[in-house]
Amino acid sequence: MADLIPILSYVTFFLCFAVIFAVMALGLNLQWGFTGLFNVGVAGFVAVGAYTSAILTAPPYPDSLGGFGLPVAAGWVGAMIMSGLVALVVGVAALRLRHDYLAITTFGVAVTLQLVALNARWLTGGPFGLQFIPKPFQDLLGTGLAWNMAYLAMSLAVLGLVYVALERLVKSPFGRVLRAIREDETAAEALGKRAFSFRLQSFVIGCMVMGLGGALYAHFVGYIAPEDFLPILTFQIWTMLIVGGSGNNRGAIAGALAVWLLWSLSGTVLRQIIPQSEQARGAALQIVLIGVILAAMLIWRPRGLVGEVIGTPAGKDEKGNTGKKA
């Protein structure tokens, strides 16, 4: 019985991360899966959410802005608002242009935000990041398994809410317009300015969800640093979405679970077989592995494990849900 506790601990810990990643993947799915917007700055928007929530909720920091000691829920809402605002600025600049410009711009945003996280000590604490981020209900539950399980339940509830909200959104007339924009460039052009506004809304909402994911992450781990939001995070979320099947919210969740499982397993295996001195190389190999999986999925199973359920017109099956035409 006593042996079960560490296993249960590990499983809870693992699932918590999976659920947090799933939230981020849902945000990306709204953008890419349903609207065909290519966001390479996922890590940046997640970082905005994480830092915002930390600054709002933590006890006062001696050498940087905040923390304001607000309730965690306020932090989460603030995280969504800040990520949404950044997305608004980026979207206005880049969404009118051809879609790879959005990719490049969001990439630039992530790089710039990474620099800010590293260097703006007054705001982000610099390379050491922010600590003492409150863990909700910790005074009640302590720091052990009980708290982890409670946080897992909370994250699951958030995931459920986000899922239901997004499902309703994409099944609404709004969602149908988004898919029309994604599928058909001419339909999008016919909508003209309205298409831009639809794209912008989808982009902002998606980024808000990513920001919420960042906040969930910050309060689970308790401290954040710039290195938590490197491009590799963007890459992981993308792989989760592609593996699960973009254009399908359940796919995004399944993909998050599958890729996180694979990532954790491959990490464990590599740590076992690679000597201590070569651990850095092992980590590099892990990323190569995930890169190869992403590429293989794109080539052989572009619809992902689950694939798109709604809005796939018969006869377009072969092309799958890979978005707009070249």
């Binding site: 290519f38 600049a93 410009y101 990719a103 260097n119 993308w238 190389r281 590429a295 794109l298 092309k319």
Partner: protein, 307 residues
């Protein structure tokens, strides 16, 4: 002030060479290749490996520098060999990945794939070479004073830096002659303009794509070695240059080689001149500001033909 301009031009020439490759693959393959930066890194590291090999081949002892430079013939030979290998690497990645995705015909999927390829390539490199920075030569170079200190702060430049500037200029001129006067060069411009019409004209688009990869990769390897020579060799070398490369290519106008060169120099200068304004730590964000500015003001770029 003059010193900042000189520094900016040197960084700018590295960016220019890289941006030519970006703009070329963008206009012919029609996607933004996020893996292009990794070609610079691989070029720099492959040259390091070949350098070791050639130095060992030429007998024990460090390489004999040529004239005032910090490097000798082995580095030039290594540069050539690395450029060749980088071209093969680009063709290999295209064959393994991009060619298969092109068949499905969705350009944006290629961008995702290139993003994955970039991380895989960089980490493979880290796996092979480790993460510590390296140098081609430990020779200390004496900077030449070109402008005395009392004229706008003066300007000093090392022979290696002059070499980089000169070879960049030569490369760009050669590329210009190639694109303007050879059949393959014209075929490449034609394909960039209209691939379907190019096929009707008898151009084998696959051959043109191969040529674009080879030229892009060779220039990337040169840029990578130059960056290694003037700064240092690191696994993040190319990835950190990616944003400046894109900014330069878009600033110049996608598809325009001269635009990419001008864009590269402008981004290099902007980076260098921003240092006294925002501090060295935000230098890398300058390219982003340039990018946003050009997207808002003139998204077709300075020399762009198409939107």
């Amino acid at each position: 002030m003059l010193q900042l301009i000189a520094d900016g031009l040197i960084v700018g020439s590295v960016i220019s060479l890289g941006a030519i490759g970006v703009t070329m693959t963008y206009s012919i393959l029609r996607f933004a290749n996020f893996a292009h930066g990794e070609l610079l890194t691989w070029g720099a590291y492959l040259a390091l490996t070949f350098l070791g090999f050639f130095v060992a081949l030429g007998g024990a002892g460090p390489m004999q520098p040529i004239g005032p430079f910090s490097f000798g013939w082995p580095l030039l030979a290594a540069l050539a060999a690395a450029a060749l290998m980088t071209a093969l690497l680009a063709l290999l990645v295209d064959w393994l990945l991009f060619e298969r995705l092109r068949a499905h015909g969705t350009a944006i999927v290629l961008v995702i794939a290139s993003f994955g390829a970039a991380l895989a390539m960089r980490n493979l490199l880290q796996f092979i070479y480790g993460t510590l920075p390296d140098y081609y030569s430990r020779e200390i170079q004496i900077a030449i004073r070109l402008v005395p200190r009392d004229v706008m702060g003066g300007m000093r430049i090392t022979p290696d830096q002059l070499f980089v500037l000169a070879l960049t200029a030569v490369t760009v001129v050669l590329l210009h002659l190639f694109l303007t006067y050879t059949t393959l060069g014209k075929a490449m411009r034609a394909t960039a303009h209209n691939p379907a019409l190019a096929r009707l004209t008898g151009i084998d688009v696959r051959a043109v794509i191969r040529a674009a990869w080879i030229i892009g990769a060779v220039l990337a390897a040169i840029a990578g070695v130059f960056s290694g020579l003037t700064v240092q060799i690191r696994p993040g070398l190319g990835f950190d240059l990616l944003l400046p490369l894109f900014a330069a290519a878009i600033l110049g106008g996608i598809g325009s080689v001269y635009g990419a060169v001008a864009g590269g120099l402008i981004v290099g200068l902007a980076e260098s001149l921003s240092v006294p304004l925002f501090g060295a730590e935000y230098r890398a964000a300058t390219a982003f500001l340039v990018l946003i500015a050009i997207l808002l003001v003139r998204p077709t770029g300075l020399f762009g033909e198409r939107s």
